[in-house]
């Protein structure tokens, strides 16, 4: 089959004060109808910029400085790179021939226009479709992407959609004009595995139906294994390796690719460090649990986000919390620290001096003391670091507030902490935006451990990272746990991560804990049907064992 899009030696640069920064360097690949090209690579390797270059929508001041982007239009080839980025010709291609799903669905949609208007716009622009017809088509599209009640959903606004729904709305928007090429930029990063599986299914189905070519950007090797025909590995702006999915997974040539695949397989097992301690016999039996949560309930208006949850946690233990997006994991974690006031229940925390405090009812001073021992790593590393404070200031803040010592002492301690999380201490003067996602996450961890806590609630502490980084981070946590005798509540939707470091697992579904148990037991012999569904939806990082199509679906009785 002839390729529909040929990218030849594409180079995109961002002029900066110190010279031109080459974000995409001499990248070539082709897209074929009905086939999926997966683009992988570390964060910041130029995946998104490559995708955007194709449509000439690179953010200012970026520009394409070399190469050709040849689009096949009914036999004639158009060089998209040579078109005026504001001109008619490229506008005709955008949305109609080539559609794009953007990385962040929340901010990529306008908050003040209804979903229907935004989806219908492409139809109006390219086909001049009338209002009524357009509405019909949009409802049809929403139905296709399995949005419930499309007739009413069409008139809703972005913020009324959940993360998964937004993602699907973006897909509907991209598919509106039946494009021949779909560029999907990490469309499932923020989703739990079950929702992710739904979306992958949908894209696959449409691809089969329309013979659409797909360029799929992701850092999840499991997803790659599930859907890719071909894989493009990028590193620092250029192509490291390009080949069929089997070759990449089973016969990687490039060291970077090898490392990438290596970390994937590593995550398939339990942490080696932990295997060691697991084997060691339990020496001391703790007198009482470190944390004893009973009947915790939190409602948002009508919604019971956390519903009668009970958990216990021993010293030095890691408790995993899994569950689909919106099941109340974060809310539960936040209740533990009284970021939210729980509506009911007790949260007994045993402090270092042995006294037991009910966090749910603790007074101001008590709470302050508890919060020094119980810390949090936030789900969103960007949002939890004040962009206007340097890394040093951020890490020093808890120390300063705890009255740690003189500025000099604090500074030394910060340097120590930085080293501990594997960052050069000189970076104290950097602003968070000058760090990569993984580094930011480590700053969050450094801040959490600064005042020697006994319990860390880590909320999706690795979700934003690509696999290699993720395994590094997890190792770091295990290391810290060993060094400091920490306990963790580890919230995640990634089962491999849970398996990698957790002692026990609690599965949440719609605010309730539906199952708890030893990690092994839950993963291998799950009892609750929801847990089974969750497990079956995990993409398996082996192109030869594609399995999410065979997943089981959980249909709750009440639904």
């Amino acid at each position: 089959m002839s390729p529909i899009l040929k990218v030849e030696n594409l180079t995109t640069v961002f002029p900066t004060r110190t010279g031109d920064f080459v974000a995409v360097d001499d990248v070539s690949f082709t897209l074929e109808p009905g086939k999926t090209l997966c683009v992988v690579g570390e964060s910041g390797s130029g995946k998104s910029v490559t995708a955007r270059s194709i449509l000439q929508i690179v953010d200012k001041p970026g520009k394409i400085t070399g190469g050709r982007i040849l689009l096949d239009r009914d036999g004639t080839e158009v060089d998209l790179a040579a078109l005026d980025p504001r001109g008619r010709a490229i506008r005709d291609v955008r949305g109609k021939d080539i559609a794009m799903i953007f990385q962040e669905p929340m901010s990529s949609l306008s908050p003040i226009h209804t979903i229907g208007v935004q989806i219908g716009e492409a139809l109006r622009i390219h086909f001049g479709m009338g209002k009524a017809e357009r509405r019909e088509r949009v409802i049809e599209l929403l139905r296709q992407v399995e949005i419930p009640n499309p007739e009413t959903a069409i008139d809703r606004y972005t913020f009324e959609y959940s993360g998964g729904m937004r993602q699907r709305a973006m897909i509907a928007m991209a598919l509106a004009c039946n494009p021949r090429i779909l560029i999907a930029d990490e469309p499932t990063t923020a989703l739990d595995v079950t929702t992710q599986a739904e979306i992958l299914d949908l894209i696959g189905k449409l691809q089969r139906e329309h013979g659409m070519a797909v360029m799929f950007i992701t850092h999840d090797m499991g997803v790659v294994a599930e859907i890719a025909d071909e894989v493009l590995v990028m590193y620092r702006g250029h192509v490291k390796e390009h080949g069929s999915v089997e070759d990449i997974f089973h016969a990687p040539k490039d060291p970077y690719t090898k490392m990438l695949i290596g970390s994937v397989t590593k995550l398939e097992h339990r942490s080696e460090a932990l295997v060691r301690t697991d084997a060691a016999p339990e020496t001391v039996t703790a007198p009482a649990p470190l944390l004893d949560v009973r009947g915790l309930t939190k409602t948002f208006g009508e919604l019971k986000a956390v519903n009668d949850v009970s958990l216990t946690l021993k010293d030095g233990e890691t408790l995993g919390v899994v569950g689909e997006s919106g099941s109340g994991k974060t809310t539960m974690g936040r209740c533990l620290l009284r970021i939210y006031d729980p509506d009911a229940g007790a949260i007994d925390f045993r402090r270092a001096d042995g006294s037991v405090v009910d966090v749910a009812t603790a007074g101001k001073a008590e709470l302050k003391a508890v919060r020094r021992e119980m810390r949090m790593v936030f789900q969103d590393p960007v949002g939890s670091l004040n962009p206007r404070k340097t890394v040093g200031q951020i890490v020093a803040e808890p120390l300063r507030l705890a009255g740690f010592g003189t500025p000099k002492q604090i500074d030394d301690k910060v340097a120590d902490l930085m080293r501990q999380v594997g960052l050069p201490p000189e970076w104290r003067e950097r602003f968070p935006h000058a760090l990569s996602g993984g580094q930011r996450q480590r700053i969050g961890i450094a801040r959490a451990v600064a005042v020697k806590p006994r319990l860390i609630i880590a909320d999706e502490a690795t979700s934003a990272l690509d696999v290699s980084l993720r395994s590094q981070m997890l190792d770091l946590l295990v290391q810290l746990q060993e060094e400091m005798g920490l306990s963790f509540v580890f919230i995640s939707h990634d089962m491999s991560v849970i398996r990698y470091i957790c002692d026990r697992v609690a599965v949440m579904y719609r605010g309730r804990v539906v199952e708890t148990g030893e990690t092994d037991q839950v993963i291998n012999r799950a009892e609750h049907p929801y847990t089974q569904a969750l497990l079956s939806a995990i993409p398996h990082p082996d192109p030869n064992q594609r399995r999410i199509h065979d997943r089981v679906r959980y249909v709750p009785e009440e639904a």
Binding site: T16, R17, T18, G19, D20, F21, V22, D25, E42, S43, G44, R236, G237, D254, P255, Y256, K258, M259, G262, L337, I339, K368, R371, R372, M376, F378, Q379, D380, G383, S384, L385, N386, P387, R388, K389, T390, E397, P398, L401, A402, G422, L423, P424, E426, W427, E429, R430, F431, H433, A434, L435, S436, G437, G438, Q439, R447, L469, S471, Q472, D475
Partner: protein, 396 residues
């Protein structure tokens, strides 16, 4: 020409135990950029600020203006309240460097005739009788800033006296030197007005911050108070309050009081914007993180939230400075502003608010207006520069 650079490709011998180079370091922060990104907060700030040419120039202008204000006695060739019956409404004389081919800084002389029909003095240039002008000329002893005895002025006629008038920006209805008056006017306009601005800034940020940060009942009450304050027309309020101020107060104190009153009302606009911003920021993770670190609510407002919308504050500030300078003019118009002999740019403008000045002595209007425009523009561009420099996302 821009140079192109590429990172040397590292070898991939991956060893998770050795964590010295992090592959996730984006290129942006590598190489030259790395130095920049690692530069201290203030250094970075300055580096970015310096890039904004106009802001640097503006900074210089602002500094000069403040120097002029501080050393008004030295810069102004004459006492701003010194009247001259001979030279009422004298037009500006051009400062010239050469006279008949010879270097001799001077202004042309003036011939005055009294026209009793039109009841005015009429002036004619008299280039034949130049009035030599010098720099660092000796004058009557005076006290710089009220305590340093001096006898030198920056510039002035070499032989000061009624026979050698030097009005480079013209004279007003009492024959006072507009240039000197403008120089002196800078004092009040660039100080008290800014106090008012600062006061409304502090109030606006604090009250708006409290309203937005705590929300709930506090918010509702503060919002009602703001709505209420906003809905009272300012002029009646000024007049009422001004009439209630004791007569025995010296003019400067009255004016200061009124400035404070004005800013006591002026904070509302900023407060509402701050509140809106806080409402959206107060549940940001970094705020919660600070709270978990044990920071007090006030600490969070001051250290985390306020810096987050510094750019907005700067924009509001640069817009409110002219408003403050001018509200004084409006007060003067109503007869409740600064009283003589105090001088400000607002007073000068107010004195030009008559048909005679507009039609026959436009310099009375242009001089203070130009001074205000220059001050306001440079403060604005300075603000622009500061904002851009304070923005961590801003391009370097």
């Amino acid at each position: 020409m821009t140079k192109t650079y590429k990172e040397p490709e590292p070898d991939f011998t991956y060893d998770p135990a050795i964590e010295t180079t992090d592959p996730a370091v984006s290129q942006e922060t590598a190489g030259h950029e790395a130095n920049l990104a690692a530069a201290g907060q203030w250094k970075l700030f300055w580096l970015k600020f310096r890039k904004h040419k106009l802001a640097v120039v503006s900074l210089a202008v602002v500094l000069v203006l403040y120097l002029i204000a501080a050393f008004a006695e030295f810069v102004a060739p004459f006492d701003p309240n010194q009247t001259s019956a001979t030279y009422t409404y004298a037009p500006p004389q051009r400062l010239q460097l050469f006279h008949e081919g010879q270097f001799m800084p001077h202004v042309d002389g003036m011939k005055m005739t009294l026209n009793t029909d039109s009841m005015r003095r009429e002036f004619e240039r008299d280039p034949a009788n130049p009035i030599p002008v010098g720099f660092f000329v000796k004058t009557q002893p005076y006290e710089l800033m009220g305590f340093i005895p001096m006898e030198t002025k920056l510039f002035g006629p070499l032989e000061p006296g009624p026979r050698s008038p030097m009005y480079i920006f013209g004279a007003d209805r009492l024959g006072r030197d507009i240039f000197s008056r403008t120089v002196y006017g800078a004092r009040i306009s660039l100080s008290i007005g800014l106090v008012g601005v600062a006061l409304s800034l502090v109030l606006g940020v604090l009250i708006g911050g409290i309203s937005g940060f705590f929300g709930g009942k506090v918010d509702t009450v503060i919002q009602r108070v703001i709505e209420f304050l906003r809905s009272i027309p300012t002029i009646p309020l000024w007049m009422g309050l001004a009439a209630a101020i004791p007569l025995s107060w010296p003019p400067l104190r009255v004016y200061f009081m009124i400035t404070i009153i004005v800013s006591l009302i002026g904070w509302t606009g900023l407060a509402r914007e701050v509140r809106g911003k806080f409402l959206s920021l107060r549940n940001e993770d970094f705020v919660i993180a600070a709270r978990l670190d044990g920071m007090s609510e006030m600490g969070i407002i001051v250290r985390h939230l306020v810096p987050s919308f510094l750019s907005h504050i700067i924009a509001v500030l640069t817009l409110s400075i002219p408003v403050m300078i001018l509200s004084e003019t409006a007060l003067s118009f109503l007869g409740i502003g600064l009283q003589p002999p105090a001088i400000s740019w607002g007073v000068l403008l107010q004195e030009a608010q008559n048909i005679r000045a507009v039609s026959q002595a436009p310099w009375l209007l242009f001089t203070p207006a130009t001074a205000i425009v220059i001050a306001v523009l440079s403060l604005n561009f300075l603000g622009d520069g500061l904002r851009d420099a304070a923005d961590p996302y801003g391009k370097v």
